[in-house]
Each structure stands twice: as C-alpha cells, then as structure tokens.
C-alpha cells in the first residue's frame, strides 16, 4: 500500500496530453541529429558562432584558464625531516666565537636562528675586552650575506673549481723558490704554524713577525695602519719588538697625544671598558683625561681637557711633558700651561697614569716610553711582558719586500687579509706585476685580488674555525656558525693543502692546541679542556715563564730621541689621516650598516670628507653649515705629491691649520660601481723611517658642476642652553654640592601660600593632568638608565639595534633628506660660547645674561659651537612615556601603552598620518616613506632587497611595510623571550636576564635595562641616584628612560 500514491509532474501528465507523452518518450533520445545538423550548411553558415569565433573563444578560454592557474608563488615552510638535535625552530642558539679582522679583535657571541647567524654581541666572559665590541664587529654579520662575496675560486679572472686551482698553484709553488706570504698581523697561533708549514720556518721565531729561511721563503706581516713606530721604539727601549698591554682601569691620569685609544688606536676594544670604570663619579676616584689632538676623535670628545694641536707638534708636546716631568731639554710649545697642568696631575699619580701617543715616529714613542718609565708606569699600568699581538707589521720589512718584488726576487706571493694595492697604491701594484705567481685569499674582489693570478676566496669569519692569542696567555677559539654559503675555502686550509698537509683546519687547530696550549693549561683531559674552551670561547693560560723571569728595564736613549723629536717641523697646513668608527681601516667600506651609521662625532654618513676648523673655514669662505640642501665646498687635498678630492666640513675643535681625512674609504669591492668616498691612503707618507699619517698638505678649491651634498643626521650642533636636555656638572660640584646644584627638580608655583603669603613651589608631578597608571607598581614596568659619563659615543648600539630590529638601510640621498630609519641615535652636542662647561644653573644664568645683553641675536650665536667645544654624547630612543604624546593623537589607536610601561606600535593598524611623529617631543619616531624592501631607489643600498641579504633578518621582528610608523620597541621580542624563559623555569624574571640590543652592545655598560617595579634592580638603583634625570621632564610625559648627569673631572 505504501507505494500506491502517485505523484504527477504536472497537470499535463494527469491529463495525458499528447505533446507531453511525446516529449517524455523522447527524454533520452538515442538518435542524436549530428549529421542533420552538420549537413544543414545554410543553418550552419547563419549561426552566430562561426568557426573563427569558435577559435577565438577557444583561445580566450585556454588563455583564461592558464591565467587563472597562475597563482602567486607558494612559499613553503618545510619542517625538518630529521630535526637536528640542537636546532629548535623559533629558538635561538648562541655560539662563542672570535672576531678578528686584522685590526679589531673581539671574543664574540653569535646568535643563530634556524642555522643562520643573525646577531653578534661581545663575549662577556673575556677578561680582555669584558664583552666590548664596536660597530664593525656586530655589523660583520651582514658581510656574511654579501652578494659581492666571491662564490668560487678564480684563475686568470675566470671562475674555476678547487681541484684545478689547487693543481695549478701547487705546480707553480713547486718551482718557486722565494715564496712570500703577506698577511695582516696574525694573532692565531695555529694559523702561524700553518703558514710555517708552507714557508718552512720554525714556530719559535713566529712571534717576531718574520722568519727568514734558507730558501728565501718568508712570512711578512703588513698592517693597513702601521704601528711600526711603537714596535721599534719598544725594541730600542726594552729590547723587545712588542706592543705592551695597558691597564686603563688603574690609570688616574691619562694623557693622550693624538692617540684615539677609545676608538681605533691599537686594541681600543680592550681599553674602553677599563677606561669607563674610571669615569664613574661615585667611585673613590675618577680619572682625569687630557687629550692633545688635531682632529676631534672619540677619545677627545670624552676627555676632561682637550687641547687642539697640530700633528707636527705632537712630538714637541711629548718633549715638553718630558721636560716638565724632570727630563732634560724639554721643548717649548704654545700649550705649556696645559702641559704643566697635565704634568702636575701625572706627578701626583705616579704609577697610576698612562701617557700614550698616536705618532708612528719611533723617536716620539721612545720619548713616550721614557715618560712612562719616569712615572713608574711600567709593571703597573703598562705591561711589556704580557704583550699584545694585534699589531706586528714593521714598515721596513714591507719596504724590503716591495724592493725584492721589484728586483724579481720573489717567485710567489700569497696575500691574505690585506689589500696593499688599495693601501699602498701603484708602488705595490707595479711590484706585484713582477711576481710570477700571485695568490689572493680575499673573500671579495678587491684591488689586490684583481691584480692576482689566482684568487682562492677564504671563508667569512663566521664560516671558519680559528683561534687567537691577542695577548700573551689569553686565548680564544672561533667556531663556524654556518656551513660555507659559497664554494670557498679557509685560507689556512688552502695553505695546509699546498704544504702537503691533508688535515682539515679544524683538526689542525685541535692538534695544535693539544700539543701546545693544553700542556700549559693544567687541565687533565684535552677533550674537556677543548670542549670547555669552545663553549666559553676564551681561556686564560698562564704563560710559560722562561725568559720572562728577568725584569725588563728601560734602556732607550731618551735624550737622543728628544733631540730628534725637537727637529720635527710642520707646515702651515697639516693633514692628519684618521680612521672613523664605521669604516676603520677599510673593513666597513662596503658594509651598508656601517656606511649608514652616523659618525659618532660629525654625524655624517656615506661619505669621506676633510674636517676643518669652522672659523678657519669662514675665513676661506667655505660653508660651515649642514643641511639637506646645503652645498659643501669640495677641495683637492695634495700631500706627498698625491691628490684626492673631498668635501670639506666644519669640525669644531679641529686644530687651526690642520685638516683631517679618514682612511678606509674609496675602496672598490666586488662588482661595486662607485666606491663610497675618496681613498685617502695615497696621501700616507711612506719614507725610509716608516709610514706617517701626518703630512704637510696644500688645498685648492674644486669647482663642481653640481652642488655637493653631505648626508648628516644632526644639523644643529649645540644644545641651545637647554638644561633639561643635557645636564652636566663638574666633579667638584658633584662631590661637594647637593642634587639641587647640578640636577634640580622641576617646581612650579602652586597657588597655595605659606604663612608669609608666599606661594609654595611644588614638584611637577603634583600638577599632572593624568591619573595614576592603573598598573603602577604592579607587574613589570620596563625602562632604561643611560649613563652619559660612560657612554663614549662609539655607536656600537646603533648598528646592534639595526641588526636586531631589521632596520632598513636607505642610502645617502634619503639620509640627507632627514629620513634615517635608525630607532636609536646618539645625539652629539657641542658646547657654545654661551654655554660654560659644567654647571646647570650656570648655563641658564649665562644664557640669560647673554640674552639680556644682546637680545635675540644671542640665540643665533648659540647655534654655533665653540671653537674648542666640550662634547656630550646622548643616546636617544623612544622614551616609552607613560603619558605619551603619540598615543593620544593616533586616530586609529595604532600606538598604545602596554601594561608593562611600553609604548607599542601596531604596524598593521597604522594608517600613516604621522601625527604621532609630530607630537613626539623626542622625535624618535620613524616613518616608512617608501617601500624600502622593494622600491628601486634602494636596491643598491638596502641588503634586504636580495634573498641573500634577507637571511640576516631577525625572524622575531616584522619587516615594516611602506606607509607605517615605527620606533624603538625596547626590544619587546627580547622581553617576551625573557619572560617566557622565566615562566618555563618557574621563576621571576631576574634582573639582568633581559638585555636589549643596545644595552648588550654597549662596550662600557652605559645602558642599563631593567624593570622599574623591581626595587632591587640595577635600574631602580640608577633611577634613584642623584644624577638621574629625565629629558625635558617638565613637559610631563613621564618617560621610562632615565639619564645620568654627565660629570667632568674639572674644578668648577
């Protein structure tokens, strides 16, 4: 019964209409009228879709289908098939290693993510450097991912493979008699031994720098920047050709004559932290630092007393000091008053002082040794037993080599770590042509490599094994943190191979250590010793006391040196060749991070220039101002019959009658089209007595067709008498006075009156419009304290921040337009004539007095720096204001305050009105004016535009897109990581466990990061100090970043 119901499709079926029956019968017709259709020509011809149309539709259809099939490329994240034991995606691994580039040595800690090294910081375990690094060290991670690196060995200008080149080189070396290996100073004992294997000397003499063996083969050391004068002077004074080690932490008085010992002089990285320890005014004593110099150096900016002097007078100053300290025949100089003051301080701190000089003249250095001897500094602050190995090149030996090459006495020359065609110019290039077999180990094509027959590219330092003994008894190991990216091979391995040793260099080092270093270490098992050293990166091994048992005595002839020194004469215009913090001797010449790092003193990026005293420039009619559209004068500097063309810029404090030009620029690397800046090496005087970085020079104006612009990040030089921006005082006031004298709190008349009817002044916080933070003293409140006394301005924090936070490089033209993307900058202020050094009230009073006298024109005058200004370095980044101006004005709430006191940016939410940047009183916000990671203007400069360069990006930090605002996040990714680590460990976040990129990079620990709510933290301690203040606190933004008043060791 269930199926008895009948459903009709319609009334037609019910009625059984005939047409319905017909169609229902034909519903599945077997016969298809194909033939009829095709035969009906008439019908077909009339059809709207002709054959041609059909083909068109077909074509369109195929094209459309294939277009639709073209999707955007799928980027795959492929999980490990077999997960390496030590790699956990998302977690960083840290490896201790060693950085050495021929001039800077630093034990380092390399952060790797998923196998890629992305960040370098100093190894705090090191007793030598205490973790100090400079910008060149931490920016070196970028050079690993440089597309300009050689990707395979080259023979005769063509790429080849290792087997071919090995065979060819081996064949050439077999017949060669005089094989010379030319390197930068080698501090690696294993590398030295590897070189010995090839040139066949004995290791005992390796320390000496050169060893002549019967077949004429030798290892020659050549430093781009020569310290031959000191080596030879010590040879004369102590019978040892060494560089001593200095203990700046013990020095109460420091007199430096032209030596930038905090920047680039000798082992600056080993001095800077020690020096900073003596600059803390709360300690028992604070060092007093005198600096005599021509150009403003980093050391000069930090000195208590800085006296501008011509380079030709350095000898006379030393001689005068020698005389004033009791030596006979001291010279007379224009600075005798200041020298006497320095001498007085030195006498008062005998055995606790250091006198250094930057001159490369042997006689001057002998006199310096004599002074230090008179002061009893040897064995106390200066050690000639524990010596530094970082500079071993002696000028005369290099001259000898060039002579030998010219005479055809060199059959094969193997060059590593130096670029003598660049640094010495034609004299070396010509000689090089006479050598039959030339091999370069350059990692990138450079002038020397181009001139060599074979180029056997070495690995980048982060791909190599290495060891180092920078100072007697201090060792460190370097381990690779990534497999070689290209078909390159470490120099030492090549040398070993050609010497017939088939050990890998790793095994070779291990063997060397087992045989030579392990026995001295006192450790029981080599395996443990090796593993521990590799883990720690550094190890101290007591040097075997052999010949050192005897005491070393000064035996130099001071009076002879003195009379030689007094003969030094200078011209009317002198040239000093310097190195800056970014490029050094040329290491940073092609590193975009370093080129974009503003020079700590001039704040100029991407250029080389001559610095000159502004008042002298005005006399000559040169432009002394900086700015986007300021046109600079370009001059031709002629010295030693060589001419270079550079812009001339104003440098307050530059000695009159001198100009300074930095070395290291104008270096052509790889397939770079035009190098940055001009190469000043040709101006270096090379005489029989050695290399000199001082020369008499002449300048001539150069007329250019176009205006020459400079990319300077700080165009206003002075602080305009603004006490609440920079607070500084003298040690006298600091010790004797109260906080009110040097760091007064801001008060306002309250409207309430006391019993006499006078208005009561109250502290600013009483007038706050804002309510208390709802989370005050709850949870964390992150912040920083920055000590302006120990900040040297070196700018290592700047590049560190760039590396950590994926900050875009924008190139010279955009920096010039005031658009540098750096989240962290170091403001450098010169004092003006209206800002007497030292006391806060004094500045204000003096400014006021000047205003009363001269009115508004004073302000204009205040914009100019004093002739020999005192200098303040002030690191500046987002202040993470609790009452932030930026947060209230954003229409879409893209920048907000976290409950941990951080001022946060939600890039995704930002629509780019730039209102926050305008309303930021500190001007720390950075806008993405262009699409820096794709726009063609930045292809040349921004490493993030190619796949290789992108490997250095920190995966924890997003790369910002065009049109959004960014700024310092206080390394929020590091804070989160630290909090998670603490959470996993089930403990509280411990003070000091979280470090920002800047605080970890700071060689002097001037930046203290921490939690304001943790009352026991170093930050809380610093914040509660009398020196602590906040910049423009009276505006009421309630920032989380504190600064410590700068204290100079001066009388009020």
């Amino acid at each position: 019964m269930a199926n008895s119901k009948k459903y009709w499709k319609g009334l037609e079926q019910l009625d059984n209409q005939s047409d319905f029956v017909e169609t229902s019968n034909n519903e599945f017709a077997e016969h298809l009228p194909v033939t009829e259709f095709l035969e009906d020509k008439e019908n077909l011809e009339d059809a709207s879709t002709t054959r041609r149309d059909f083909l068109k539709y077909l074509g369109f259809g195929v094209a459309a289908a294939s277009l639709a099939a073209c999707e955007t490329p799928v980027t795959k994240a492929i999980p490990y098939l077999n997960k390496p034991e030590e790699v956990t995606p998302g977690e960083a691994n840290y490896y201790a290693s060693t950085y050495y580039d021929g001039s800077d040595y630093a034990p380092i800690l390399v952060k790797t993510r998923e196998g890629r090294p992305i960040f370098i910081s100093g190894n705090k375990e090191s007793a030598l450097t205490k973790g100090a690094i400079n910008a060149r060290v931490n920016a070196s991670v970028l050079s690993l991912y440089d597309g300009n690196r050689l990707k395979a060995p080259m023979m005769g200008g063509k790429e080849t493979d290792w087997d071919t080149i090995d065979a060819a080189v081996a064949k050439d070396l077999k017949t060669a008699k005089n094989i010379k290996v030319l390197t930068s100073s080698i501090i690696s004992p294993s590398a030295k031994s590897a070189i010995e294997q090839l040139v066949g000397g004995n290791t005992e003499e390796a320390v000496e720098g050169e060893e002549v063996v019967d077949n004429g083969s030798a290892h020659i050391t050549y430093d781009s920047i020569s310290y031959s004068g000191i080596l030879e002077a010590n040879n004369e004074s102590f019978g040892k050709e060494v560089i001593p080690t200095y203990s700046f932490e013990k020095a109460k008085t420091i007199v430096s004559v032209g030596a930038d010992f905090m920047g680039n002089w000798l082992d600056a990285l080993q001095y800077v932290n020690d020096y900073a320890q003596t600059r803390k005014p709360d300690n028992k004593w604070m060092s007093k630092h005198f600096q005599f110099e021509a150009s403003m150096s980093l050391s000069g900016t930090n000195a208590d007393v800085r006296i501008p002097a011509k380079p030709s007078e350095y000898g006379a100053i030393i001689s005068s000091l020698y005389g004033k300290l009791g030596g006979s025949g001291g010279a007379k100089t224009a600075y005798d008053k200041q020298i006497a003051a320095a001498a007085k301080e030195l006498k008062a701190s005998k055995g606790e002082s250091i006198v250094v000089c930057g001159s490369n003249d042997k006689n001057v250095q002998v006199l310096v040794n004599a002074i230090n001897e008179m002061l009893g500094n040897y064995g106390k602050t200066i050690d000639v037993k524990t010596t530094s190995n970082s500079k071993q090149g002696v000028d005369s030996r290099m001259a000898e080599l060039v002579a030998d090459m010219n005479a055809g006495k060199v059959d094969a020359l193997l060059i590593d770590g130096v670029d003598p065609v660049y640094t010495m110019g034609d004299s070396f290039a010509k000689a090089l042509k006479k050598v039959k077999t030339t091999v370069s180990f350059a990692t990138k094509m450079n002038d020397t490599a181009t001139a060599c027959k074979y180029v056997c590219p070495s690995n980048h330092g982060l791909e190599s094994w290495s060891d180092a003994m920078p100072v007697t008894g201090s060792y460190s190991l370097g381990q690779p943190t990534i497999s070689p990216l290209f078909d390159t091979r470490q120099t030492e391995e090549s040398l070993l191979k050609w010497a017939g040793n088939d050990l890998s260099y790793h095994d070779y080092i291990k063997k060397y250590w087992e045989e030579n270093i392990f026995p001295q270490s006192g450790a029981t098992f080599f395996g443990d010793f090796w593993n521990k050293t590799l883990h720690d990166g550094v190890v101290e091994v007591a040097a075997a006391e052999t010949e050192e048992a005897e005491t070393i005595v000064f035996s130099g002839d001071a009076s002879k040196a003195n009379s030689a020194v007094k003969k030094i004469k200078g011209g009317t215009l002198e040239l000093e060749l310097t190195q800056n913090m970014a490029v050094g001797a040329g290491v940073g010449a092609d590193n975009p991070w370093l080129q974009e790092m503003p020079d700590p003193i001039t704040k100029i990026t991407w250029d080389n220039y001559a610095t000159m005293n502004p008042s002298e420039m005005k006399e000559k009619g040169y432009n002394v101002y900086f700015g986007q559209e300021e046109s600079m004068n370009v001059i031709a500097v002629t010295a030693n019959n060589q001419k270079i063309q550079v812009p001339v810029v104003a440098q307050p404090g530059q000695a009159r009658g001198t100009i300074s030009v930095a070395l290291g620029y104008g270096k052509v690397v790889g397939n770079m089209e035009t190098p940055t800046g001009a190469n000043a090496y040709p101006l270096v005087a090379s005489t029989k007595s050695g290399v000199s970085y001082y020369a008499d020079a002449t300048i001539a104006d150069v007329e250019l067709d176009e205006a020459y612009h400079i990319a300077c990040t700080q165009t206003q030089q002075t602080v305009m008498g603004r006490d609440s921006v920079v607070r500084e005082t003298t040690l006298d006031v600091y010790k004797k006075g109260s906080k009110e004298d040097y760091n007064p709190a801001f008060t306002l008349l309250s409207g309430d009156t006391d019993e006499h009817g006078h208005q009561i002044k109250k502290e600013l916080k009483e007038f706050d419009l804002w309510g208390d933070q709802p989370v005050k003293n709850i949870g964390h409140r992150w912040g920083m304290s920055i000590d302006m006394n120990t900040c040297t301005g070196c700018s290592a924090c700047v590049t560190s921040c760039v590396a950590e936070n994926n900050i875009a490089v924008i190139g010279k033209d955009e920096v010039r337009r005031g658009r540098i993307m750096h989240w962290m900058r170091i403001d450098r202020y010169y004092s003006s004539e209206h800002q007497p050094l030292g006391d806060v009230g004094g500045t204000h009073t003096a400014t006021k007095e000047a205003l009363d006298l001269n009115g508004i024109s004073t302000y204009t005058a205040m914009e100019n720096a004093a002739d020999n200004p005192s200098v303040v370095h002030q690191p500046m980044m987002c202040q993470h204001c609790n009452h932030a101006g930026c947060e209230t004005v954003c229409p879409v709430a893209a920048t907000t305050h976290s409950n941990e006191g951080l001022n946060m940016m939600a890039y995704n939410r930002c629509i780019g009105t730039r209102y926050c940047a305008n309303n930021c009183a500190y001007k720390v916000r950075r806008f993405n004016w262009f699409n820096y990671i794709a726009y063609h203007k930045f292809t040349e400069v921004n490493p993030s535009q190619d796949d290789l360069g992108r490997m250095v990006l920190n995966p924890d930090v997003v790369v910002r897109s065009r049109g959004v605002m960014e700024k310092c996040s206080l390394c929020v990714q590091r804070i989160q990581e630290g909090k998670l680590d603490a959470k996993k460990a089930g403990s509280k976040v411990e003070d000091g466990n979280i470090q920002t990129a800047c605080s970890i990079a700071c060689p002097t620990n001037a930046i203290t990061f921490g939690d304001h709510n943790d009352e026991g933290s170093k930050l809380a301690e610093a914040r509660n100090q009398d020196r602590a203040y906040r910049i423009i606190e009276e505006v009421g933004q309630d920032g989380n970043i504190y600064y410590q008043t700068k204290v100079r060791n001066l009388k009020a």
């Binding site: 700015g627 986007q628 559209e629 700080q714 165009t715 206003q716 002075t718 602080v719 305009m720 603004r722 921006v725 955009e814 337009r817 005031g818 658009r819 540098i820 900058r825 403001d827 202020y829 508004i856 024109s857 302000y859 204009t860 002030q874 500046m876 101006g885 209230t888 004005v889 954003c890 229409p891 879409v892 709430a893 939410r909 930002c910 629509i911 780019g912 009105t913 730039r914 209102y915 940047a917 305008n918 309303n919 009183a921 500190y922 001007k923 916000r925 950075r926 806008f927 993405n928 004016w929 262009f930 699409n931 726009y935 065009r962 049109g963 959004v964 910049i1031 423009i1032 505006v1035 933004q1037």
Partner: protein, 472 residues
C-alpha cells in the same frame, strides 16, 4: 513689502525687471560657453590633471615623494588642508549667519560663495586622505563595525574629531546649498527648450512647483538649516585648530587657537570670495547685482577678521615671552629670527598690515585694489598655516632633531592640482548652475533696487497700490 530707507545704497543697480534678472543670471546656462570660459577651462583642466598625476604618483610610490622628514612630518599637505578648509568658511557664514541676521546683501553672493565653500572643502578633504601613508586603510578612521575584533577608533585623537567635523560640515553645507538651488533649477527647467537640458534640470529641481506653500516651506527649511549650519561655521575650524592646540609641540600647544583659527578662516574665505566675485561679475556681466557696495561690505568683514587675526598673533607673541617657558618663547623667537623668518614676515605683512589699508574708503571701493588685496590675504593665510605647522615642528624640544623642510615637485604639483580641480569645478558651476540665487535676488528688487529707491512715493504707489512705501 518692506522698502529700505533711501539712505541705504541700492543693492541692485539700474532698472532690471524680474525677467531681466532671470535672463542675466541664466545667460551662461542658455548660451554656448564664451571663449574666456573655454580658455580658463583648458588651463584649469591641465592643472587638475597634473595634480591628479602627482597624487597618483604619490600614492604609487610613497609619501617620501614629498619633502617631509623625520622631524617635519606635516608640511604642505596639512598647510593646504587647513588653508582650503579656511576658505571653505565664507560660504556658509554668508548664507547662514547673514541669513539669520537678515542681511540682504548676502543674496547676491551666497550662491557663488557656497559653491566655493563646497569645492574648497572637497579640496581640503583630499589632503588628510592623501597624506596618509596607507590611504587604502583610510576607512579605519570611521567608527564602523569591523572584523578586526574589538578595534575601534581613538576618540582622544583630534584627527578623528576632524573627520567628524569636516564630514558634518560638508554634508550640511551641501544640503543647504542644494536646497537653495531647487527653486532656481525649477525656473531653469521651465525656461529650458532642449530636451536633455529640460530632463536634467527637472531631475535637479525635484519637481519644484513654485507655489506659495512651496516657497513658505523653502523659507522655513532655509532658516532651520541656517540655524544648523551656523554653529558648524565655528566648530569646524575650532576642531581643525585642535590638531595643533592639543599637542605638546611649542607653537602648536596654544589655547588661543580655536577663535584665532575661525577668524582667520573667515578672513581668508572672504578674500577668496572677493577674488572669485570680482572676476565673475565682470566676465558674466553681473555688475548690476554684485555691486561695489557688496565688495565694500566684504572688505569690511576682512578688516574686522584681519584685526582679530592680528590681535591673536600679537597675543601669541606676548604670551610666549610672558610665559617664561623656554621652548615656547624660543618657538616664537625662531619664527621671528630663525631660518623661516621670511615666511613669518610674509604672514605678518599680508595678514596684519595689509587689511588696514581698507580703512580708506577709496581703496576698499576700488575693484583692482580689492582684487590684489584678496590674493595678498590668501597668500598670507597660506603662510600663516605654514608658519604654524612647519616653523613650530622643525625646531622643537631636542636641538639634535632640528631640521628644515624643502618641498619637492610633488608637493607643489599636488597643491597646484587642487587649485586646478577647484577651478574646474567652479567653472562647471558657472556654466551649468545659476550663479546667483536669482529668485532670492528678485525678492529684494523692490526694496533695494535702484530704480525703486529712486521712485517717488506716487510712482511707487502707482506701481504697487497695495503696498505703502516705507520711508522710515
């Protein structure tokens, strides 16, 4: 009918009849465009296209194509924005405030002034849009429900208040203007002979019948809208000024800004009306309706508002010195003596000194002089905004960040472009819209028309036996 005292100067010269008025005003609509109009249109279109090109380039490449930098985050963009918004003040003030005050002279100028307002606000609105780094996200400033979770706009931000203030002002002004246009569109429709024209104007006129009831409603709606629009005249620029007043930047952070900005806006708005009307009355032969007296009235407004602006400038200067705040006083010293002193000097000369020349009756009734002055005032007012924005922010708290601003060709191109687009709109308005509110002008013909004023009582009575000539 109310007839004015003879001592008042007539507002309509000559002896036009009602139909003369219609013919005069609608001449441009009913005839082919003149050569002058075509030439101006070509120039304006070129400028407009150039501007559009610059804007597209800006949006395509990035804000970096402007001359801004880390220190100066706003310059020509917001200067132009405030300048255009200011100009956009005169129209509503004339039509709304003067309506409430029953000022008959507004009849001849309210229509063109309102058109100017609306187009100026269009131009003004362009800048906050294109100055965004990510214009494609511009809709995020609207408090609309979204898929981003609980994301909402920040009601603390003056920039958000701007969004509300300007959009409200634009919509009210637009409605007010359109309502006023309806009777005139009706008249055009009735006169139109060509079918397309007839269709267009009948659509635009919303079926206006012109009967007494319609007129009565029209008057009432006008009055209500005038009441609504009046506070907006004052609120818009007050709120725009808060972009600066609520900030912490010395030179921006000033409580005087709201009234000072409103006065400045009226000042520049009237100057722009002068610039336009002096050309329009000549080119379209409307001298009978827009008389020297009208020009003079507007010049009087310019004296008053110019004086207010002058007082505001001096107050600002005094307070900065009196406050004892280092940064505040420096901000003004910098305006006077810093690298942008010349822009401050231009501002002071154009806005404070020059309007006082109008105290001379001879000068304020001189067309050529008025025309030059109107341009001077608008240059001055552009520089006022430039001074406030750029010279405040280019040297603020930390001297390390002090900087300069140099405009690029894109900055200049966008500004010229907005002048072009504005002119295109205005020329179209002149061609296709009734330039004067002629139906309203007719309403004052007998009270303020020259021929009626000069009539004797007998003549007047003869013409209009029902009305008495009021001779009070």
């Amino acid at each position: 009918m109310h007839k004015e005292a003879a001592i008042r100067e007539p507002l309509i010269l000559g002896s036009p009849t009602y139909s003369d008025i219609s013919n005069d005003v609608l001449h441009s609509i009913e005839h082919k465009p003149t050569k002058l109009w075509k030439v101006l249109m070509v120039i304006a279109t070129i400028a407009a296209l150039w501007g559009v090109g610059c804007i597209l380039y800006l949006i395509g490449v990035g804000i970096g194509t402007w001359g801004l930098n880390n220190t100066v985050g706003w310059a020509w963009d917001i200067t132009n924005f405030v300048w255009w918004v200011g100009i956009g003040h005169a129209g509503t003030l004339i039509s709304a405030v003067l309506l409430l005050f029953r000022q008959k002279w507004r009849m001849a100028i309210n229509r063109p002034a309102e058109a100017m307002t609306i187009f100026a606000v269009f131009m003004a609105g362009t800048f906050p849009m294109i100055h965004m780094g990510r214009i494609w996200m511009a809709y995020w400033v609207m408090p609309i429900p979204n898929q981003f979770g609980s994301l909402w706009v920040n009601f603390n931000s003056p920039l958000l208040w701007d969004v509300f203030a300007i959009s409200t002002y634009l919509s009210v002004s637009l409605v007010f203007w359109y309502i006023g246009l309806i009777p005139d569109f009706g008249s055009i429709r009735d006169r139109a002979t060509r079918p397309v024209q007839k269709l267009m104007y009948s659509l635009l006129s919303f079926g206006w019948t012109g009967n007494a009831k319609a007129w009565q409603r029209f008057e009432e709606v006008s009055l209500v809208l005038a009441g609504l629009a009046t506070p907006l005249v004052f609120s818009v620029h007050s709120i725009v000024s808060m972009d600066f007043a609520t900030s912490v930047i010395p030179g921006w952070h000033t409580t005087i800004f709201p009234p000072y900005f409103v006065a400045g806006a009226v000042f520049s708005g009237f100057a722009m009306v002068q610039t336009l009307m002096i050309i329009v009355r000549k080119a379209m032969r409307l001298e009978q309706y827009v008389t020297i007296k009208h020009i003079e009235y507007m010049n009087l407004v310019i004296i008053v508002t110019g004086s207010i602006v002058g007082v505001a400038y001096l107050t600002e200067l005094f307070i900065s010195a009196y406050s004892g705040v280092e940064y505040e006083s420096y901000a003004f010293i910098n305006r006077l003596s810093g690298p942008y002193w010349w822009s401050y000097a231009i501002m002071m000369t154009c806005n404070v000194v020059s309007p006082h020349l109008f105290w001379s009756k001879k000068l304020r009734t001189n067309l050529a002089f008025t025309f030059i002055m109107s341009i001077v005032v608008n240059i001055g007012m552009w520089f006022e905004r430039f001074v406030i924005i750029v010279t405040s922010v280019h040297r603020d708290y930390l001297p390390s960040s002090w900087s300069m601003f140099y405009p690029t060709w894109v900055d200049i191109g966008v500004f010229i472009g907005t002048l072009g687009i504005f002119s295109v709109f205005y020329l179209l308005f002149l061609k296709y819209f009734p330039v004067l509110a002629f139906n309203e002008v007719k309403s004052i013909l007998k009270s303020s028309g020259e021929q009626y004023k000069n009539m004797s009582d007998e003549e007047f009575k003869k013409l209009h036996p029902v009305f008495k000539k009021d001779i009070k």
